[in-house]
Symmetry: C2
Subunit: 168 residues, 2 copies
């Protein structure tokens, strides 16, 4: 460990770095959630609904599988999935591999709703890319996000030997 008397200033510097990261990530998530919400609203969706619906566009998935893919708890996805189904955006299909774990699949209306978001999303993504100074910079920022996630995952795994995923 580096927590020696000689390294007190290093500790303080890293603490500040960590606190700044927590703050920045919280702010960024809030901003992106708000932006996604505004993009999805004209289609009658919320940001969370969009995320779940988008996750099953490539193919049907069980609720728990969606949760794993998104890194959130099963219950959160379950709630949104039930809402999507009750609104007709998605439907549960029988799962040949598991009787209880029904597969969530988008309906035609669901696909149409996501498609309606497309143009606005493309325009916003283009503006964001431009504001970042180019696609390369945006891609680099995304890479940084993922490296941070991976590092956190690694640290947590080293601590507990368990993955960080909630509800796991």
């Amino acid at each position: 460990m580096t927590t020696t008397a000689q390294d007190a200033t290093g500790d303080a510097r890293r603490q500040e770095l960590f606190r700044g990261t927590v703050l920045a990530a919280s702010r960024l998530d809030g901003q992106l959630l708000a932006a996604a919400g505004e993009l999805a609203r004209p289609a009658g969706l919320t940001a969370a609904w969009w995320q779940v619906l988008d996750a099953v566009l490539p193919g049907p998935l069980p609720v728990a599988g969606i949760a794993r893919a998104m890194g959130v708890s099963r219950q959160s996805v379950q709630r949104v999935a039930d809402l999507l189904v009750s609104h007709g955006w998605a439907a549960y299909c029988t799962n040949p591999a598991h009787r209880r774990a029904k597969l969530l699949a988008p309906t035609a209306e669901g696909r149409a709703a996501v498609a309606r978001i497309g143009p606005g999303q493309a325009a916003f993504a283009a503006r964001l890319s431009a504001a970042m100074g180019g696609e390369a910079e945006l891609a680099a920022a995304l890479g940084a996000l993922r490296r941070l996630s991976a590092a956190l995952e690694a640290v947590h795994a080293a601590d507990t030997g368990k993955p960080l995923e909630p509800g796991a």
Copy 2:
């Protein structure tokens, strides 16, 4: 706008970039919140409480001011601030400049609680820094977070002419 027929693949690429960013930011925020929560728990604090308490360590601030500094709504901070006061971690002081807008200040117990988190935070920050490959890499990632936030802010401001802060 770049949304021409010729740039359809560019649109798709940027859309994917944007979706990936939303997903990664959400995941990262969740991970950092969980990590901060674990660090704060031994001191009897939650991640949200810690954030608010930490914001007033340098000096007393009104609730609305804390909210602005954190980029969240006044109501969220108000709720946490009331809880902090009711638990004795912080106290409201009279504000000479505004009778209603009392200033939130940490109590001695509050400062002690934050201080108790310090060592764990330093150790975790050191491990995170190591997992990122060094402090420089961690600092670079933080820079990327902030650039993304600033770009989102700029795009939103260009859209509405208003800052993105919630509850504003």
